[in-house]
């Protein structure tokens, strides 16, 4: 009898040790490789905190609020107020087996407000924005299911999702893989993804320039390298390529061409490349971590862009963390973009969308998070506020005629995360 009891105790100890080892493997892999996957449809970095051996539930509410367009930049009589969005995010993650996790992400947004429609020359010749006449009300729901399979030195993931609005439907999917080398100091990541979207613009009978039904497809592939540099330093570099095909225009925008409004019309093909490099450095002396990201972007619509992000994660009082961050973004213009066109183009391409115009943007964010334990459950509560300002004068290059529709916004978020 004693031998049997001893054997049971030994087996229990072995099982516990195996569970601890598996948990360490998951935490290490998640912490070192999370975030390599970036595109619509690509298998994403679930459980970035490495707690996927427990059931996780995350909720976040955000209010996105765009600032009004200044009176000097809007056409007489046009709406000045812009978009507001309320966003609810839910994430559920659970281990299914020893080496298999399943995660479900759901996003629900309620949008309302007016958006930029087209641009006309003002009295002084400077472009002014015409906004959509009626307030737009829409809702978007996005669901993404993701499975991850952990091996000793590798991770394989697969995801599939849908996104739908009144006038929009998209199906997306992706496969990803990660391989650890060099005593787990080096991680190679790669993946592929796709998104198939269909657009049925509203009120196309009332606005004849709007199409009735259009489709587009997006295919993505990426490869990345993560490297542990020291006990407290890690870096990562990821190259991403995306191909867009089909209707890539905006059905709700127009361009003024030789005094006549025409439909927004962009090429039916777009090649995009993004090269993202990230750096993480922990300073034990002050119990803080430094994050730096830089991204170079290029596409064959002749847009190049640079993004710089810096953040500081300051831990305080064991359970509290304060995270200030800043972001700078600058982009050039698409080759066919103009605020308005004095004459027709031979290629028939037109867009006055501010998102294809040259500009720069500065944003800053402050975030606070606190951990606590109640009802024998671990919780993390977060609050953040971000302000985003864009302007032609913030661009790295000189911008002679900035688009009047450039956006400024505030973003407030509160969140609650638990693991049990």
């Amino acid at each position: 009898m004693k031998n049997v009891a001893r054997r049971h105790r030994r087996k229990a100890r072995l099982r516990a040790a195996r569970r601890r080892a598996q948990r360490r493997r998951r935490e290490s892999l998640a912490a070192l490789t999370a975030g390599a996957l970036a595109l619509p449809g690509l298998a994403g970095p679930a459980g970035a905190e490495g707690l996927s051996d427990r059931i996780g539930a995350d909720y976040n509410f955000s209010r996105y609020s765009e600032g009004s367009i200044p009176a000097s930049k809007v056409a007489p009589g046009s709406e000045r107020g812009r978009y507001d969005i309320d966003m609810h995010q839910i994430r559920l993650a659970t281990p299914i087996a020893d080496r298999f996790d399943l995660g479900l992400d759901i996003v629900h947004e309620s949008m309302s407000g007016a958006t930029p429609w087209y641009v006309i020359p003002g009295d002084d010749g400077k472009p002014v924005q015409v906004m959509t006449g009626a307030t737009i009300d829409d809702k978007r729901t996005d669901a993404l299911l993701e499975g991850k399979f952990y091996m000793d030195r590798a991770l394989a993931s697969a995801s599939g999702g849908v996104s739908f609005e009144k006038d929009y439907f998209a199906v997306n999917g992706g496969l990803g893989g990660q391989l650890e080398l060099n005593e787990k100091n080096t991680t190679l990541s790669s993946g592929v993804g796709f998104s198939i979207d269909s657009i049925d613009p509203e009120d196309s009978d009332e606005y004849p320039l709007r199409p009735n039904h259009e489709k587009k497809q997006t295919y993505s592939v990426f490869a990345g390298l993560s490297q542990v540099l020291r006990r407290n330093i890690a870096a990562q570099s990821t190259l991403t390529y995306q191909l867009g095909h089909g209707y890539l225009s905006d059905p709700y925008k127009q361009a003024l061409v030789a005094g006549e409004p025409l439909a927004d019309s962009r090429p039916g093909l777009r090649h995009q490349i993004a090269w993202l490099s990230r750096y993480r450095h922990h300073f034990s002396s002050v119990n803080g971590s430094f994050h730096a990201n830089y991204q170079f972007y290029w596409d064959d619509w002749k847009i190049t862009a640079h993004t710089f992000e810096l953040a500081w994660y300051q831990s305080l009082f064991e359970s509290f963390r304060l995270i200030p961050s800043v972001r700078y973004y600058s982009q050039g213009q698409a080759g066919f973009y103009a605020p308005y066109y004095t004459q027709a183009r031979a290629d028939g391409l037109y867009s006055s969308d501010y998102r294809l115009s040259p500009y720069g943007a500065i944003s800053w964010r402050i975030k606070a998070e606190t951990r606590f334990r109640t009802w024998q459950v671990d919780w993390l509560a977060t609050f953040s506020w971000e302000r985003y300002l864009s302007s032609g004068s913030y661009a790295m290059q000189k911008v002679s005629t900035p688009n009047p529709g450039l956006v400024n916004f505030d973003l407030f978020s509160v969140g609650l995360t638990t693991r049990f």
Binding site: E49, Y83, A170, L225, R230, R231, Y297
Partner: protein
């Protein structure tokens, strides 16, 4: 020209640094395993920011969570 050179330097920095790094043993990963050392410490926040920037800028988001397309205005 100067800007292009600076961009290339920034892009190559992690690779240059990696070539001269010392191996860190598995039992020395306590700091690297901290949540605030993750590439994306808050996956919901990363997904939200990716979505907003993808909607409002021409650039392709190179960091963040996945998701479907949108008819974003």
């Amino acid at each position: 020209m100067l800007r292009s050179a600076a961009s290339l330097l920034l892009l190559a920095l992690p690779l240059l640094a990696a070539s001269g790094c010392a191996a860190v043993k598995p039992w020395e990963r306590d700091v690297l395993a901290r949540p605030d050392m993750a590439w994306e410490p808050d996956s919901l926040e990363a997904k939200r920011n990716t979505h907003i920037h993808y909607s409002k800028e021409a650039s392709l988001p190179g960091g963040g969570a996945g998701g479907g397309g949108c008819g974003c205005n």
